[in-house]
């Protein structure tokens, strides 16, 4: 059973629908006990880093999430991925879950770019692979370099260890599209909103053993 953590941040309906369409058993989990009882978790997220962390604390889910992440497969999406890092710089410097060492910083815009590049970065962008072995490969099955995913963000994750990045995309500069460290995965894009390739990515995660 896959648990989608519903902590008040993120489009859980579309995620549930996606997993249903893919034929995977999934349910929304809202308590620490429920989180500890599922085989894998997905941490969705929209909005800002500090607000996502606040919500996890408010709902008393912080410890259960960390425990699960450290022992079972976990996938963070968008802000859900960003809070896996050590700190975020959106609005105020905030501590994250710190399971992937690194920071979350604002996408940097070069004012001399023409046409003018805008924030938030909203839309489809092609991804590329970095050479990574093992489980990282299982996450990319059926996806090829250049496949496009849907992004909606102004901040990006910068892991301390370059090996923690398995897919990249570009917006003025290269940034991490997918991070992976042990059993922990994070996608900056929204796989539940990226059409067929997004569904494939979610399927890969659900199939990890």
């Amino acid at each position: 059973m896959i648990g989608i953590v519903d902590y008040g941040s993120g489009n859980v309906f579309s995620l549930m629908s996606a997993l249903k369409v893919l034929g995977h058993d999934a349910k929304l989990v809202t308590s620490a006990a429920e989180i500890r009882n599922v085989s894998k978790i997905i941490l969705p997220g929209v909005g800002a880093f500090p607000s996502a962390m606040e919500k996890l604390f408010e709902k008393d889910l912080f410890e259960a999430v960390i425990e699960t992440i450290e022992n079972r497969h976990a996938l963070g999406i968008c802000v859900g991925m960003q809070i896996m890092l050590s700190t975020g710089e959106e609005f105020v410097t905030t501590k994250g879950l710190d399971v992937i060492p690194g920071k979350v910083t604002k996408l940097s815009i070069d004012d001399s770019d023409l046409p003018k590049r805008k924030l938030p970065h909203i839309g489809w962008a092609p991804v590329n692979f970095t050479p990574q072995p093992g489980q990282a490969h299982a996450m990319t099955m059926g996806i090829k370099a250049g496949d496009e995913f849907y992004f909606a963000h102004s901040f990006h994750a910068t892991p301390d260890n370059q090996n923690d990045i398995i897919m990249t995309a570009n917006y003025g500069h290269q940034f991490a599209a997918v991070v992976a460290r042990g059993t922990i995965f994070g996608a900056q894009f929204h796989p539940e909103k990226s059409g067929e390739v997004g569904l494939r990515f979610l399927d890969n995660f659900c199939n990890l053993s």
Binding site: N11, F13, S17, G47, P115, H121, I122, G123, Y171
Partner: protein, 260 residues
């Protein structure tokens, strides 16, 4: 194309579905309606045809004082895996929460935001700016000026459309959906001057809406610097062109769009 242009976000192609009750409809300049068919069937077709996003608009919400699209959103969001924006009659943070809980990703607001600017900030703070689209229904007022209209293009607001768009984005709206009231439903092309003026003043992504009658209209509008997405209705509802044909026309003209 320079390498910088290559790295720009592809222009998004977004079918717009105006919905009245159980029906997909199409209007001429926001008056006079024609029933096209079942909105969920059309939405599913456009998704399968490769639409980058979809917009649902409740065109009678202002008459009923609320948005009635929950059922259709829930039904289609279960099978459509690209972003869905819902607008028409969204009046409160609660309305937004309800819509997001049945599968919408973004909401677009107009009338309620003009009447209560704080709503924009409230929505952006609770759900994020990228969730909050401000729709500007613009009607030509004088040379180089447009007025912002409310209640689905029926009522004057007295506000300058461009200035209002600037204010709305400073309050937290993450995208601007620019609809030309003069061109909407005519199929006589977008209001290019409106779009160019908006693009020169607004720093967030802009979605062009109102007037697309041919693939060329969409291609030329997609080429305007600062226009990030093109929304269209009659051209696909009336089968004048399909989403894949529009995409091909953009690619052929050198416009950066999703390749699929």
């Amino acid at each position: 194309m320079t390498s910088a242009a290559n790295m720009m976000t592809p222009v998004r192609l977004i079918p717009r579905l105006d919905i009245k009750g159980p029906n997909l409809i199409k209007g001429i300049q926001l008056e006079g309606l024609r029933i096209i068919g079942d909105p969920s069937k059309y939405a599913q077709k456009y998704y399968q045809d490769g639409a980058d996003e979809l917009i649902y608009y409740d065109s009678v919400a202002s008459l009923y004082e609320r948005n009635n699209l929950f059922d259709i959103v829930e039904k289609t969001a279960a099978h459509i895996f690209v972003p869905l924006t819902v607008g028409g009659g969204i009046r409160s943070v609660d309305d937004v929460q309800k819509m997001l809980s049945v599968g919408a990703d973004k909401i677009s607001i107009n009338t309620a935001a003009i009447k209560n600017k704080k709503l924009i900030t409230d929505i952006a703070e609770r759900f994020g700016s990228q969730c909050c689209v401000i729709e500007i229904q613009a009607k030509k007022a004088s040379f180089g000026h447009w007025e912002a209209f409310i209640d689905n293009g029926r009522e004057h607001s007295g506000f300058d459309a461009i200035k209002w768009a600037e204010e709305a984005t400073s309050l937290g709206a993450g995208e601007v959906l620019v609809t030309s009231i003069d061109q909407e439903g005519t199929g006589k092309n977008y209001d290019r001057e409106l779009l160019e003026t908006m693009a020169s003043r607004i720093d967030v992504p802009i979605i062009a809406s109102g007037g697309a009658g041919s693939k060329e209209d969409i291609v030329k509008t997609a080429m305007i610097n600062g226009i990030d997405a093109c929304s269209f209705a009659r051209i696909i509802h009336y089968d004048k062109a399909t989403v894949p044909e529009i995409r091909q026309a953009c690619i052929g003209a050198g416009v950066n769009v999703r390749r699929l």
